[in-house]
């Protein structure tokens, strides 16, 4: 019984982290293959991580965080997608660039910002944060 409860909790956590990883990837306009090449796994394995079919080790999570230039705690935050969506909708990030430059964002600050976010306030704001995307990773 206890094992079942733990398995359910683990399953829920895997799926939540998977959703965050998928969001990170699509936000940066990367394919599963791009991510897989950097991480050193197959794209099928990335699919399994993103859909929560497989658990990530701490090492893999660190690799994903490094690749996306994202903090591990953000990838573990169930509100990551909602907060980031609000900021993206409000043009907080510079979306005009082909490669989106999103880096280590402190979600607690971002969360406070996103609550009162107005499109107008952030129209002229650009965050230039480093992002080692697929192109940079290959260089």
């Amino acid at each position: 019984m206890r094992k079942q409860i733990h398995q359910t909790a683990e399953d829920q956590l895997n799926k939540m982290i998977g959703a965050n990883l998928r969001y990170c990837r699509v936000l940066r306009k990367l394919s599963m293959t791009d991510v897989a090449q950097f991480i050193g796994v197959t794209h099928q394995q990335v699919y399994k991580y993103e859909t929560g079919l497989n658990s990530l080790t701490i090492f893999r999570l660190k690799q994903f965080a490094d690749f996306f230039k994202e903090e591990i705690k953000n990838l573990l935050n169930p509100d990551y997608i909602s907060i980031m969506c609000r900021l993206v909708e409000a043009n907080f990030f510079n979306t005009s660039e082909t490669e989106m430059k999103i880096g280590s964002v402190d979600l607690s600050t971002m969360s406070d910002l996103s609550k009162n976010v107005k499109v107008k306030d952030f129209q002229n704001t650009t965050l230039h944060l480093k992002f080692a995307g697929a192109n940079n990773g290959n260089n």
């Binding site: 939540m16 998977g18 699509v26 997608i81």
Partner: protein, 93 residues
């Protein structure tokens, strides 16, 4: 079997009910769209709408601390009712 999650480009295409009935879940950034008799959960990224696995959406919603996902279940039920009603109407006519 591996499922391929859809990407729909363009707001007008996505919001057009002819490509599948859709609705934004209030208070959240998520959209729900009817895709060949199954509900798909989408997020908007720029001009593109990306589908996410249903389990990922559900577990993100369940664990959310800051956002109000309390009435989401009700909205999804309402969405399913509306979809079924629309289908029944179209099959009758």
């Amino acid at each position: 079997m591996r499922r391929i999650y859809k990407t729909i480009i363009g707001e007008t295409v996505f919001l057009n009910n002819e490509t599948g009935y859709c609705k934004r879940l209030e208070g959240t950034p998520w959209y729900i769209k009817d895709l060949n008799h199954t509900s798909g959960y989408f997020l908007r990224i720029g001009n593109t709408f990306k589908e996410f696995p249903a389990a990922c959406f559900e577990n993100t919603a369940v664990a959310s601390k800051e956002f109000d996902f309390s009435n989401v279940k009700e909205q999804i039920n309402q969405f399913n009712q509306e979809v079924n009603y629309a289908k029944a109407n179209s099959s009758n006519s």
